[in-house]
Amino acid sequence: MIVTIQGVVKRFGAVTAVDAVDLTVADGELFTLLGPSGCGKTTLLRLLAGFYQPDGGTIRFGDRVVNGLAPYERRIGMVFQNYALWPHMTVAENIGYGLRLRRLPREEVAQRLQEGLRKVNLTGFEARYPGQLSGGQQQRVALARALVLNPDILLLDEPLSNLDAKIRIQVRAEIRRLQRELAITTIYVTHDQEEALSLSDRVAVMRDGRVLQVGPPRDLYERPRTRFVADFVGTNNLVPGEVESRAAEGADMVVRTALGPLRAIANGAVSARCVLAVRPENVALGPAATGEGNRVAGRVSLVSYLGSTVRYDVETEAGLVLKADIRDAWHHDPLPVGRPVTLSFPSSVTLAVADDA
C-alpha cells in the first residue's frame, strides 16, 4: 500500500512539530524517519497511526484519505518503543486480542495466533505473561501482535531502543527479514543512524519538523546535500569555506577555506558560502607530500584505537582538527602524538554542501 503525505502540519501550542511535510512511501518499502530527538519524527508517525490529527495537509493510505479516522479504523499495526504489552494478558491473549475484536471464528483465531508466534519464533510461549519474557522476546510479541492482523501499514516507533546492543542487531535482522517476506509497507522511526542505514530501503532525515533529505542509505551517506545531513549521518570532517570558481552540480570546483584552496564536487544547491564534507575513511595519512588531490599539513593530536580501525585526530596549522582513519589497524604501527603528518583526500570524495547550520 502506498502512503502519501501531503503538506502535513501539526502544531502543539506555539511549537510546530511537523512543518509542511511531503513524503511518498512506496508499496512494500521499509521507509525510515531519522533525526535527533524533537525533530518531529515520532509526531509524524503518530499522525500516521491516528493518535494525533493533523492541523493541515492530507494523509492517504492507497487512495483512502485517513484524516480524521481513529487508529482502529486505519488498518495499521504499531510497535511501541516500550513494547506496550498488556501486563494482565498472556502472550496468546496479547497477540489474539485484535483478532478476537474482529469476531473471527475460534479456529481462525487459533490458527493465525500460531502463525504469528511461528513468524517471530515464540511458539510455546503462549501461556507466559509479558513480565516473564526478556526484552527481546517482549519486542517480538509486540511485533507479532501487530502482524497477525495483516495490517496495510506497519508502524515502528524506535522499537529497538530499549534492547541491549547484541540483541538489537539480532531483532533488527529479524524485523528486516519479516518485512521482506510479508512485503508490508513499513514506516520506521529511529534516532540511530546506523540502524537506519542498515535496515531501510529509503530514509528521510528530519530536523525541526521538516524533511531535509530523502534517499536510499547509500545516497545519504555518500551524497549528503546539507551540512546537517553530512554531520548527522556517520562521521564527517566539516570545513566551512567560500566558493571561488563556480561550476555546475557534480563538477569540480575550488573552495577557499582556512586550510587553503581545496578542490571539491558540488552536491545539492550550493551558494557562495558552503561547507566541505570529507569522511575520515577517505582521508589518507602520510609522512609528507604523498597522496593525490587536496593536501593539508598538521600534527597528530589524538590517536584512538577502535579495533578494526585507528582514528587519528590531526590538528592543522589553522587550528582546525581533521579526522583520518587507518583501516588496516592490524598491521599499523601507531604514530606518536605531535608527529607532523600530511593529510590527503581526492576532490572526488570532497563534497561541497549547503551550510544549513
Binding site: F51, A70, P71, N82, W86, R145
Partner: protein, 554 residues
C-alpha cells in the same frame, strides 16, 4: 474530538461538585457577610475580631495545630527513618503496627485515653494506690491533653508520607552528598530531609487541618476555647439566632484559614518537586545489638502509648463496674448485645451510608481521575483544585454548610434535603471523594498511555479499550481507594454529627450520644466494632497496595 457523551459526563461531574460542595460553602460565606435581612455587612467579622473569647479561641486553635504538627513531626519523621533506613529485630511488625493508630476513629481514641489516663483512669488509680497521691494527675484535661491525644493519633500520617517520599529519593543523590564529604547529621540535614519535604509538607498540612477542625476531642477533654468546639456549640444550640450566625461565621473562617494553609503548602511543594522515579533503594543499615535494643524500646513505648485507646476501649466494652479500680471487676458481653441486637440501627445505618457513599465516590471519582490523567478537556486544573480543596475543608464546616444550604423545601416536597437520610451518604461521599480520585489517578498514571494506544492500533474503540485494558489494570487502585473511603466514612464524626436526625444515627453518632448520656460502655462497644472493621480494611489494603498508602494522603 469532543464527543457529546464526554461533554455530558463533564457537565454532570461539575453539577455534582457545584451543588454539593461549592454551593454549600458559598452559602456559609454569604451568611458570614450579610445580616438577617440579607444586607451586605462586615459586622459579623467585626464582632468576631473584637470578642476576646473568640480571639483567644483562634489563638489557641493555632497553637494547638502548630504544637501537634511539631510533636507528630518529631515522632513521625524519626519512626519513618528508623523503618526505612535501618534493620532491627521486628522491623516489619513495627512497620505494620505503626499504621494502626491512624485508623482509630476520632471519638474512640479520646474515649480510650480517658479510660486509662483520665482522672479515674487506670493509671491514676494505680498512682494513687501506690504513692498515696491525694489528687489525680491531670494527664489529659486541657490543651496539653488535646496535643497528646492528637499527636498519638496522627503521627503515622507524617510517617506514611515521609516513608513514601524517602522511597522516591534517588539513592545516587545521597551517594553524591557522601562523595563530596557529607556524612551523618550533615547529610541528613542538608540533603536527605530537604528531599523529603514535599511529602512531609503534605502530611503536616493534613495533621494541622485535622487537629484544627476536630471539635469532639477537645470537648471530651473539657476544652472549649478553640474554634471548632465553638462552631459546634454555637450551631447545636438552636435558640439564639445571633449565636447561631456566629457559628456559621466561625465555620467560614475555618474554611478560609484551611484553604490559605493549603495554598501556602501547595505553593511550597510546587516549587520543590524532587521526586525522581528510581528503581534502586538505599540499603538498610543493620544496627548493633545495643542500638537495636534502644530502637525497639523506643518504638515499643511509642506504640504502647498509641495503643492506650485500644486497650481502654476494649476493656470498657466488656468491663463491668470499672470505677476506682485499675481494671474492671467483672466482664460481660451485655454492651455488645445492646448495640448489636437491641439497637442495631447504628451499625446498619453506618454500613448503608458508607456503602452508598463509596458508590457515589466511585461513580464521580473514577471519571474525575480519568479526566485528570487522560483527557485534555478545559478546566482540569480547576477540577484538581476542587478535589484537593475537599481535603482541606473541615468536616465541621461542611456539616454546618449543609444545614444552612439544604434546609429549604425541595420542589414537590414540604421538607428540605436535610430531612431526607440521603443527605448523610451525600456528605460522606463529598468528604471522601479525594481518596477515590487519588487512588484511581495514581493507578492510571502507572498505566502507560501506549498500552491504550496499542489497543487502539489493533482495532479497539475508546470504551472497549477502557474495558479490556485500562480497567483490568486499575481496578485494584479503585478498590483500594474505595475501601479507604468506606473505612474513613464509617469513622466520620464531624459532618454527620450535625446532620443526623432521629432514626438515622450512625455509629459515631451513637458513640457521642451514649457518651454524653453517661453510658460509656456502650460507646466503647461501638468503638471496638469500628476499630475491628478498620483493622480488617487496612489489612486488605496493605495486602493489595503494599505499604504505599502514603499516596492516598499526599
Amino acid at each position: 474530538m469532543r464527543s457529546p457523551r464526554l461533554v455530558l459526563g463533564v457537565g454532570l461531574i461539575w453539577a455534582f461538585l457545584i451543588l454539593f460542595l461549592v454551593y454549600p460553602l458559598g452559602r456559609i460565606f454569604y451568611d458570614a457577610v450579610t445580616d438577617e435581612a440579607g444586607r451586605w455587612t462586615l459586622a459579623n467579622f467585626h464582632e468576631f475580631f473584637t470578642d476576646r473569647f473568640y480571639l483567644r479561641s483562634l489563638w489557641h486553635s493555632m497553637i494547638l495545630g502548630v504544637a501537634t504538627v511539631i510533636a507528630s513531626s518529631v515522632l513521625g519523621i524519626t519512626v519513618a527513618f528508623l523503618l526505612v533506613r535501618y534493620d532491627f529485630v521486628g522491623r516489619s511488625l513495627f512497620s505494620y503496627l505503626t499504621m494502626i493508630p491512624i485508623i482509630s476513629p476520632p471519638l474512640v481514641g479520646v474515649l480510650g485515653f480517658t479510660f486509662i489516663l483520665g482522672r479515674a483512669g487506670t493509671v491514676n488509680v494505680l498512682l494513687m494506690d501506690l504513692f498515696d497521691l491525694l489528687r489525680p494527675v491531670n494527664f489529659l484535661y486541657g490543651i496539653h491533653g488535646v496535643v497528646l491525644v492528637e499527636t498519638l493519633h496522627l503521627f503515622p500520617m507524617i510517617t506514611l508520607n515521609v516513608v513514601d517520599a524517602l522511597g522516591k529519593v534517588d539513592p545516587s543523590l545521597e551517594e553524591a552528598a557522601e562523595s563530596v564529604g557529607a556524612r551523618g547529621w550533615s547529610k541528613l540535614w542538608r540533603v536527605t530531609l530537604p528531599l523529603t519535604t514535599p511529602g512531609y509538607v503534605a502530611g503536616a498540612l493534613l495533621v494541622f487541618i485535622w487537629t484544627f477542625s476536630d471539635f469532639a476531642t477537645p470537648l471530651v477533654l473539657g476544652v472549649q476555647d478553640l474554634l471548632a468546639p465553638q462552631a459546634y456549640l454555637n450551631i447545636v444550640q438552636f435558640v439564639d439566632r445571633r449565636i447561631f450566625r456566629m457559628g456559621i461565621v466561625i465555620s467560614a473562617l475555618m474554611v478560609l484559614l484551611a484553604v490559605l494553609f493549603l495554598l501556602a503548602a501547595r505553593h511550597y511543594v510546587a516549587i520543590k518537586d524532587y521526586s525522581s522515579l528510581s528503581y534502586s533503594r538505599v540499603a538498610r543499615r543493620r544496627l548493633t545489638a545495643g542500638r537495636q535494643a534502644l530502637v525497639v524500646a523506643f518504638l515499643s513505648l511509642l506504640l504502647l502509648l498509641s495503643f492506650i485507646p485500644y486497650i481502654g476501649v476494649t476493656l470498657a466494652s466488656v468491663g463491668k463496674g470499672w470505677a476506682l479500680t485499675p481494671l474492671p471487676v467483672a466482664y460481660t458481653l451485655q454492651y455488645y448485645e445492646r448495640v448489636i441486637v437491641e439497637t442495631p440501627k447504628y451499625i446498619l445505618n453506618s454500613f448503608l451510608y458508607s456503602g452508598l457513599a463509596v458508590v457515589v465516590c466511585v461513580l464521580v471519582g473514577v471519571p474525575i481521575a480519568w479526566l485528570l490523567a487522560r483527557s485534555t478537556v478545559p478546566g482540569r486544573g480547576a477540577l484538581d483544585a476542587v478535589n484537593t480543596l475537599i481535603l482541606a475543608v473541615p468536616g465541621t464546616a461542611l456539616g454546618i454548610a449543609y444545614i444552612r444550604a439544604f434546609h429549604f423545601d425541595l420542589p414537590g416536597f414540604d421538607r428540605g434535603l436535610t430531612s431526607f437520610w440521603i443527605v448523610m451518604p451525600l456528605v460522606l461521599a463529598v468528604r471522601r471523594l479525594p481518596y477515590t480520585v487519588r487512588g484511581s489517578f495514581a493507578s492510571l498514571l502507572l498505566v502507560h498511555r501506549s498500552l491504550e494506544e496499542a489497543a487502539g492500533s489493533v482495532g479497539a474503540s475508546g470504551p472497549r479499550t477502557f474495558r479490556d485494558v485500562t480497567l483490568p489494570l486499575i481496578w485494584k487502585g479503585i478498590l483500594v481507594g474505595g475501601l479507604f473511603s468506606f473505612m474513613t466514612s464509617l469513622q466520620e464524626a464531624s459532618a454527620v454529627l450535625f446532620l443526623a436526625l432521629g432514626g438515622w444515627e450512625s455509629i459515631t453518632n451513637g458513640i457521642f450520644a451514649f457518651y454524653i448520656a453517661g453510658s460509656a460502655n456502650e460507646a466503647a462497644a461501638l468503638g471496638v466494632i469500628l476499630i475491628v472493621v478498620a483493622a480488617i480494611s487496612v489489612a486488605v489494603i496493605n495486602r493489595m497496595a503494599g505499604t504505599r498508602m502514603g499516596g492516598v494522603f499526599g
